[in-house]
């Protein structure tokens, strides 16, 4: 069965994005094994001299490496993704780079009506960066607005349309993961991506 990792994009104790991933974990249990990863225990990114991942980052990185695909569930803070999620991504891009060529689906829940649309747009651009090079699924976005009212007492999505939309998005992602397996970039591409560093471009040659 397909192995996926779901990243809760916040360090908050109460999070409807966590609830959304938990729902997906249960609801899609016969299609994929979804392991939910938290970022709350990760330290704040601070550009250490050695490009070595702290233990908590390494654990997250190993889970991503072992997975067929990654689902990010992001809240929206100030029109963008939370600092805590950005920090986790910076760690991954600065140390182990497990997202290279990894299929990624973005979902997000917010209490406002817009459902993290702007945070998701930022996250797409961020995951495109040369140090990350994730394969973000195009054309599909899942925005869950009014998320505090979206779940019933059992943690299931109340609204049938939103359930259906998520089923469709998830099916597309499963197909997308299958599709990306056929794209096998050369080893050199991987090697170059892993070694990429802005500070190496002293001659101004953009990659």
């Amino acid at each position: 069965m397909m192995k996926l990792v779901g990243i809760v994009g916040t360090n908050a104790t109460q999070s409807t994005n966590r609830q959304l991933l938990q729902y997906m974990q249960r609801h899609f249990a016969d299609q994929a094994g979804l392991e939910i990863c938290e970022i709350v225990d990760l330290p704040a990114f601070n550009e250490p001299e050695q490009h070595v991942a702290p233990a908590a980052v390494q654990t997250l990185s190993d889970a991503i490496s072992a997975a067929d695909g990654v689902i990010f569930a992001t809240p929206e803070y100030d029109h963008s993704i939370p600092a805590a999620l950005k920090s986790a991504i910076e760690w991954l891009s600065y140390t182990t780079r497990p997202l290279i060529n990894k299929p990624v689906m973005i979902v997000g829940a917010s209490n406002g009506s817009l459902g993290t649309s702007r945070a998701q747009a930022h996250l797409r651009q961020i995951l495109e960066a040369p140090e990350l090079k994730a394969l973000v699924m195009p054309n599909v976005e899942y925005l869950l607005g009014h998320s505090l009212q979206a779940f019933d007492a059992n943690g299931d999505l109340v609204d049938a349309d939103k359930r259906h939309e998520l089923d469709q998005a998830f099916n597309e992602f499963v197909a997308f993961v299958g599709l990306t397996e056929k794209l096998t970039p050369t080893e050199t591409f991987f090697e170059q991506s892993r070694q990429f560093s802005w500070s190496q471009i002293t001659n101004g040659e953009d990659l």
Binding site: T10, A83, A84, H122, L132
Partner: protein
């Protein structure tokens, strides 16, 4: 000269953005004073652990508030701004908003030719977000690409064209600061003078409020609090209007523990302001300095004889008793208002007072209850209680013989109170562990409860002699009900007594730890309202801080009785009841007893834990259905039976009523019902099928359930759940569904104490200098607390704790 703040947008040790800001600081020193702020010590933003008051965030807040403008120099990480920079912006858009309306200039440096172009775009969008609401200068994008080659050895920009462009950007920014400054000058506020009738949202619904406005001032705010539970939100009703009038602002901080009422009052005044033709947002921008941090306060040291933690009924009673013994008493309360959970109590306290109770006639069923009790097999009574039980049996039989053939009078005795407390508290948990009240403590309680009533009378509490009441869940009519104001009646007498007899009550002062020396308690350390450290030395400490029904994690940690406690379970308690005293006690070695047992109120509001919303009717008219629309329990069952059945059915359930049953509700009015239906917290429909759709159950199922229930009412028998008593059928439209969920109500477990209220350690020895009284202590109520016994407990053990503390620790000085 203009004062600017420059923020280095990274926490990295080496940064070209820092170099760029340092260059600007030097280069523009004749035009502006730029202070550079670093992100090095800023913690990662976390909405669950608010750090807005920490010195590092406050430093940013104050410097930015005081500055004319802000320059942010951002690197680019992964095509966006660094998490460290995002983090400080999140802190500055959460509780604090210093960037609101502040002129901001963005610059950036990077290794690549891009020069942070994409990070700058993201940063602009972030600064535009409503929580930040900065005024970012448009155009004049300063991007410093290939920054590693841009500076010379003195840290100056090498290329003169770059310097020229930076000069022009900066000149434009200085003008921009002036322009934005004009934009920020608030419009003069003018009101259409008059008195406006508006509403504030309170604890129990809407509260009428009148706001008087003159041409340019908020002059007066009157709130009619008669529908509110006395004591709970008083502090919000006093302080919020005062803060609004003093500061002529709507930017006032909510009172903790009464935040809903605080916001209700603020919103009510905002409505009046709007009706008077002014813009409430202008008043919300007048911050009145409330967000600025207090200067670091010096450590405050205090010396007293007995320091008491918690200003609820137990704590104030202990303080009064200490003062009566001629000693000094200091009470520390972490909340802004006193009263704790006592102000939420229904009022009547249990105490056997046969001389008084005998004047009342017995009511049907009471003799039967006594008879059944006397017929219990003594072998089922635990050995400690057996002798008392035998004596009680004699008393009951004498009474029954004496009153044969007559209705008789209301019987009671200390022994009946004792045995009922014992039997009521007897429970077995999920692990098969049996518990019942510790004999010596239950004896102490039942022997001295009446003394507590007398003592309360002596300090000014008036009891209603004309009726003897049975509080909910009390089993027997022995409730002494204070006149007026329910539980607040006690606090209304105790607080002034303590204050007028030389006691000190400090609110908003949270105790952090107890201090010890040479194996005894020497006092404690607390944090005051201005975050100042308060060190108290005392001869004794009395913990009277209540239980932990408002601390879900703690309940879940210790629970051995309920099959599950939901993460989002609500409480009927004050939010202050987080088990602080238990934590303080265990940290100095105190033992705990009975922690796994907690009491739930099965029919509470799922969102607030309140009892008095929806339609609360007598249990014979309860029709409870689960989320499938089916009945699931004998609605006449005990609190524990209802709670466990609800938990087994997913916690949320509905009370179904029709128009006739509605009329038996004792908690509401048509106006409140309409309000709640409109707010979606109560459901109403003209047919059962429509009602079913509203609560998302299958209409056929609900209709069938009600049909069956009505047939049981007709037959006088419920073959499904064996409901004991019926009254009305569900048949007259409109129909109602009140959503309910169990809420935490009382925690029976706590610190282990002896009959002198001394706190004991795991070896059973007294911890010298430490006492506990009330819900913080365990052992008395065991598996289930009888209604009316908690008040008996706090007033009895509050007095005992004080007497012991004075006798043990203050004896030398009184001689």
């Amino acid at each position: 000269m203009k004062k600017l703040v420059g923020i280095v947008g990274t926490n990295a040790r080496h940064s070209y953005n820092r170099q760029l800001l340092t260059f600007m600081q030097r280069h523009f020193q004749d035009q502006a004073e730029i202070e550079i702020l670093e992100l090095t010590d800023v913690p990662l933003f976390n909405e669950s652990t608010d750090g807005s008051d920490s010195p590092v965030i406050q430093n940013f807040n104050q410097k930015i508030t005081a500055a004319d403008g802000v320059i942010i120099a951002t690197p680019e990480h992964n095509h966006s701004l660094p998490s460290a920079l995002k983090s400080i912006l999140e802190w500055l858009s959460f509780k604090l908003h210093p960037l609101d309306g502040k002129p901001v200039m963005i610059v950036g440096a990077s290794y690549s030719v891009q020069g942070s172009s994409r990070a700058q775009l993201h940063l602009r969008q972030v600064l535009d977000a409503p929580g930040v609401n900065a005024s970012v200068m448009p155009g004049s994008e300063f991007l410093l690409g290939r920054a590693q080659a841009a500076f010379d050895e003195q840290g100056n920009l090498k290329v003169s064209g770059t310097v020229d462009f930076l000069d022009s950007c900066f000149a434009k920014f200085l003008k921009f600061v002036d322009v934005i400054g004009e934009l920020n000058v608030p419009d003069a506020i003018s009101y259409q003078p008059g008195t406006y009738a508006v509403h504030a949202t309170g604890h129990n619904g809407e509260i009428p409020m009148s706001v008087t406005l003159s041409k340019d001032r908020i002059e007066n705010i009157q709130i009619d609090t008669s529908t509110e539970t006395a004591g709970i939100s008083d502090v919000a009703f006093e302080r919020i209007p005062k803060a609004i009038i003093d500061g002529q602002t709507l930017a006032v901080d909510a009172i903790s523990g009464a935040s809903m009422t605080s916001h209700g009052v603020i919103d009510g005044v905002a409505t009046a302001v709007k009706e008077a033709g002014a813009n409430p947002d202008d008043l919300k921008k007048r911050r009145g300095g409330t967000t600025a941090a207090q200067p670091e306060a010096p450590v405050q040291t205090l010396d007293t004889d007995v320091v008491i933690v918690g200003a609820g009924g137990a704590g104030l009673t202990a303080a009064a008793k200490v003062l009566q013994s001629g000693q000094r008493a200091l009470v520390l309360e972490k909340f802004p208002s006193v009263g704790g959970n006592t102000v939420r109590a229904g009022g009547p306290m249990n105490a056997a007072d046969p001389d008084w109770q005998n004047q009342f006639a017995a009511i049907p069923g009471e003799k039967h209850t006594l008879k059944a009790l006397a017929e219990l097999d003594p072998q089922t009574i635990d050995p400690e209680y057996r002798a008392d039980f035998e004596t009680l049996r004699g008393q009951i039989n004498d009474y029954l013989n004496q009153t044969t053939g007559q209705p008789g009078y209301l019987f009671d005795s200390k022994l009946l109170h004792r045995i009922q407390t014992y039997l009521g508290g007897k429970r077995t948990d999920l692990n098969g562990h049996k518990i019942y009240g510790q004999y010596d403590l239950v004896k102490e309680l039942t022997d001295h409860a009446l003394d507590s009533v007398k003592w309360l009378e002596s300090i000014g509490v008036q009891f209603d002699q004309s009726q003897v009441t049975m509080p909910v869940g009390a089993i027997w009519r022995r409730g002494h009900k204070p006149m007026g104001d329910l539980g607040f009646a006690y606090i209304k007498a105790l607080q002034p007594y303590v204050e007028s007899h030389g006691g000190t009550i400090m609110t908003e002062t949270a105790v952090q730890r107890l201090t010890t020396a040479d194996g005894r308690i020497t006092g404690l350390i607390a944090e005051g309202p201005a975050h100042q450290r308060i060190e108290v030395t005392a001869k004794a400490v009395i913990l009277a801080s209540g239980g932990f029904a408002a601390n879900v994690k703690m309940l879940q940690k210790y629970n051995t009785y309920w099959t599950a406690i939901d993460d989002d379970i609500q409480t009927t308690n004050s939010p202050a009841m987080t088990g602080d005293g238990i934590e303080l006690g265990t940290r100095v070695g105190a033992d705990l007893v009975g922690m796994g047992f907690s009491q739930m109120m099965p029919v509470s509001d799922p969102d607030t834990g309140e009892l008095f919303t929806g339609l609360q009717v007598p249990p014979q008219n309860y029709v409870m259905v689960n989320q499938q629309g089916k009945r699931f329990v004998n609605e006449y069952g005990s609190r524990d039976e209802l709670t466990q059945a609800a938990i087994d059915n997913g916690s949320l359930f509905y009370l179904i009523a029709d128009d006739e049953i509605k009329k038996t509700a004792y908690n509401t009015s048509q106006e409140k019902i309409d309000q709640q239906v409109a707010a979606g917290t109560l459901f109403r429909a003209n047919t059962l099928a429509d009602l079913a759709k509203q609560i998302k159950v299958d209409p056929a199922v609900l209709t069938a359930t009600i049909k069956a229930y009505n047939s049981y009412v007709d037959a006088g028998e419920d073959p499904e759940f064996h409901k004991n008593a019926f009254d009305l059928k569900v048949q007259v439209a409109p129909f109602y569904a009140t959503p309910r969920k169990p809420a935490t109500h009382h925690t029976m477990g706590g610190l282990k104490i002896d009959t002198g209220a001394h706190v004991l350690n795991a070896g059973g020895q007294v911890i010298n200098g430490l006492y506990a009284a009330g819900e913080v202590a365990g052992g008395i109520h065991a598996g289930n607390r009888l209604g009316g016994n908690s008040l008996a407990d706090i007033f009895t053990f509050g007095r005992i704790a004080a007497a012991s503390a004075v006798a043990d620790e203050c004896a030398v000085e009184t001689e």
